[in-house]
Amino acid sequence: MKFETPAKTNPIDNLKVVGQPIHRIDGELKTTGRAMYAYEWHDPNMRYAYGYPLGSAIAKGRIKSMDVAAVQKSPGVLSVVTTLSVGDLGKGKLNTAKLFGGDKIEHYHQAIAVVVAETFEQARAAASLIQVDYQEESAAFDLAAAKGSAVKPKDAGGAPPDSAVGDFDGAFKSAAVSFDGTYTTPDQSHAMMEPHASIAAWDDDELTVWTSSQMIDWWRSDLAATLGMEKEKIHLMSPFIGGGFGGKLFLRSDAVLAALAAKAAGRPVKVALPRPFIANNTTHRPATIQRIRIGAQRDGKITAIGHESWSGDLPGGGLETAAMQTRLLYAGENRMTAMRLAELNLPEGNAMRAPGEAPGLMALEIAIDEMAEKLGIDPIEFRIVNDTQVDPENPERPFSHRNLIGCLKLGAERFGWSERKQPGLRREGNWLVGLGVAAGFRNNLVMPSGARVRLAGDGVVTVETDMTDIGTGSYTIIAQTAAEMMGVTVEKVGVHLGDSRFPVSAGSGGQFGANSATSGVYAACIKLREAVAKKLGFNSNDVVFENGQVRSGNRSVALAEAAGSDGLVGEDTMEWGDLTDTHQQSTFSGHFVEVGVDAATGETRIRRMLAVCAAGRIINPITARSQVIGAMTMGAGLALSEELAVDTRHGFFVNHDLAGYEVPVHADIPHQDVIFMDETDPMSSPMKAKGIGELGLCGVSAAIANAIYNATGVRVRHYPITLDKVIGGLPEVA
């Protein structure tokens, strides 16, 4: 099915199941420890061996030699596979750095060997016995130092790296009020709770991999490319994923090492990346330096807006597209954006939840707050004045639906925004208290997505798709979609995900998963409905699926009976026309935060958080809300503590574990409120839904930064906003 014209009324609009607050259908499995993640696959007939990886001790250079003699003699060792012994492997299309194979070192903790032993303990001990002789090369690790050498890349995630409308320079210079600020965001780590892990087993030339992947088909294709084998010979499974946030979008070394180790050992092999290995071995969100310039009339109308961003990556890598949202978020006749890429030899930079927008809004939404203050206008009012209902770079192109103003107004009312005082004026005991606001913005992407839906003789509907559930609720919303389409309750729907034998789906990323994958299920259900109608001789135009029955005119047949003993199948892939070109499709939010800053120590603690989101139809308010509060929590971490600390001498992230890289804990997060605007977007899909999982992250960190400013009068432009950046401006401790 191709979605080419705005959705009309369709069976989803019945909202008997879709849109309802249905608890996760995998909830009992997850809360009882029965949900099985990659490393946990256990077939009692298989003799699993354990692989343990070794990472490079240098950031750039080559390996002259490796001595594994001691390893081979170590107890329990079955095999040693080194990056030299496997020779030159292929590279996945979506990987920047090679995952394994060859003597070239591109980054710290790049995988250089895997030791296979009977037990985990033996493999780990033996891995440390490998002796490596390196030839180190000079390299660049410091974004600030490399900024001057940054170049304009060919492409910014499919868009041009620069944009310009009108005369930005002229308008900025002549603006009645202007603002020019530079911000930085650090390298950040996904830090999902489940480490990357794979089990690989060979059967002759066929490979089965149980892994933790957000994107089954991407992994399968890139694993085939890396190993130089046919994709069809690989069976990949990933039914449960312990978090990803972009860190499991692209093939990682655990799958490659497990496959090579299993081959070498002649046994199924389990490999999990040790936690201290993950930050440097896998990908991260690259640091940015961002300059934002805004010019406005005294009434607050923006006349010039410019956003430049610099980031770094390995040779062949890409930008962190931090200026993208500035092309769309606010009006203004004269505008420019420019993004530049420096070559750095840190580990591979790549997508992390809301790539581009998350760090971009961390900067832009402070700048907006600063500009509003300069203008003497309330920051919400300033945003409202500069709202746009069309793509400001291309006014012929309207937004499909945009209610940012509604989000901000409703949020202000619910949050008690009018109580906000001037900076530094609200004190409660030892706490300086402040309120902050920011707009959230994230584009609504769609991806082709396939599904197969079976109707069995017992009336049970089973969905099969290689879609993944990384905690997003895919199992549940897919069951809801199929239930709605087939006129049954969710209890009558089985959902099987994350298996390369199933139709290729959108996968989980870019907040395109929910809308795209349910649309794919919608398409497959349309096919199944047609098959049912055809078998019953019903006119498929007036057929109704309801309460487990199929009805046409005055004829009604139980779905189970219609299926018959052989059952029926519908399979299709949702593809997309040009509605995303003709209409800008985006999601919007208003983030509101209250912080307390300790007047003596400068410690910031969040007291209240509210997000008001406009993201089309909400397929399941429970799982959607969880996506948003989770993103708000991540945003709190990015605002207050998260930073991969770069050793610019040796080129690695120093704090490479969960003690050193501080993500929020329970005590950091207060009760969180989320409000969804009641809306649908027929331009987006037959579901009329949009993405939500990344929107929740966009803007929240800036709202925290703005609240800290409001509490203390100290403006910090460099994340994370730790106490050392604040205490200099705090009042004397009496």
């Binding site: 503590s641 050793d647 040796h650 574990d657 050193g660 950091d668 205490i727």
Partner: protein, 316 residues
């Protein structure tokens, strides 16, 4: 983790004897830091002596009116002990400011004293570290040092001792009781127990080979306001940037012990003497010899400000 043999010690003397007969042996109690380090091969004992069964898990009154805390009393139990809560509040507060509930259930009194630094370079075996590989150099100097020491540091090492409990123990003038492999017993004051790094940062305490901690003794209670203030980036489950353990009397005199700034809990008589004059004077005395890096120089201000808040709280 290297392979090791394992025994459960039958007595304190047997434990010390077993350790003395094998220089590569280590005592294990809670294991929360030792196993962490063994997994990374920062610690590589060939033999573990499990001392959990030695009955050193009691808290008893001393004839002097203080308390003897068995070496194996878990952090949770020590923090929850009625007398500790009533008379040594700074200790209870320090304990519950540290680690997590799960770790406190396992971690012991002696193990807490013996835990090693959290300097990230100590934890990365690819990097030079004088503490881990004497003579290899200090990567933290000129590297990432925001968490690290500002006073009592040396050219060889700027690591900090990560314990909260030890900071309070230092404020309380606790003493560590030990038994040596030859059976002799001694008591080491908290002032002397941990060493400064100097040229030998790998030697962290006064304990000799095989010497075994049996108890920590608290002197009789001294009254006053007991305050433990831990400053950190996230609100819980994080090591201190700076922490202050204080016992302050109604007349403004008192004791202050500082964590997160040195290779040991940092307390100076001269600073205690300045306390009645206020935070500025006391912290100037505490940090008179501070040697900071660009990344951790904020700790000087932070100590003064935090101490100011502690003094205010004591008055309030």
């Amino acid at each position: 983790m290297r392979a090791f043999t394992y025994e459960r010690a039958a007595s304190v003397e047997a434990a010390a004897g077993a350790a003395a007969s094998n220089p590569e042996a280590k005592f294990i109690a809670g294991g929360t830091n030792l196993l962490d380090l063994m997994k990374l091969e920062i610690e590589t004992p060939s033999h573990l002596i499990d001392v959990n069964g030695l009955g050193l898990d009691r808290i008893e009154a001393t004839p002097e009116g203080g308390l003897r805390i068995g070496a194996l009393v878990r952090n949770t139990d020590l923090a929850a002990h009625e007398t500790i809560r009533r008379d040594y509040g700074v200790l209870s507060r320090a304990l519950v400011a540290g680690a997590s509930g799960q770790l406190r259930n396992k971690a012991t009194t002696a193990g807490n004293l013996m835990q090693r630094t959290r300097c990230p370079y100590f934890y990365d075996t690819n990097q030079p570290c004088n503490k881990r590989r004497p003579g290899s150099g200090c990567s933290a100097l000129g590297g990432i040092s925001r968490q690290l020491g500002v006073v009592g540091v040396s050219d060889a090492c700027i690591a900090t001792h990560p314990s909260d409990m030890a900071v309070a123990m230092r404020a309380l003038d606790a003493a560590v009781e030990t038994v040596k492999p030859d059976g002799t017993r001694r008591s080491i004051g908290m002032a002397d127990f941990h060493r400064l790094p100097g040229d030998t940062p790998h030697i962290e305490t006064e304990l000799k080979s095989g010497e075994f901690i049996t108890a920590v003794v608290l002197p009789p209670p001294i009254g006053g306001r007991h305050i433990y203030r831990k400053v950190r980036d996230r609100a819980s489950y994080a090591f201190a940037l700076v922490s202050i353990g204080a016992v302050i009397q109604p007349d403004g005199t008192g004791r202050i012990s500082v964590g997160g700034v040195a290779h040991k809990p940092w307390r100076l008589d001269a600073a205690d003497a300045e306390l009645p004059k206020g935070a500025k004077a006391a912290s100037a005395a505490l940090l008179a010899d501070a040697r900071t890096t660009e990344q951790n120089k904020f700790k000087v201000d932070l100590v003064e400000r935090t101490l100011g808040a502690v003094i205010l709280e004591a008055r309030g």
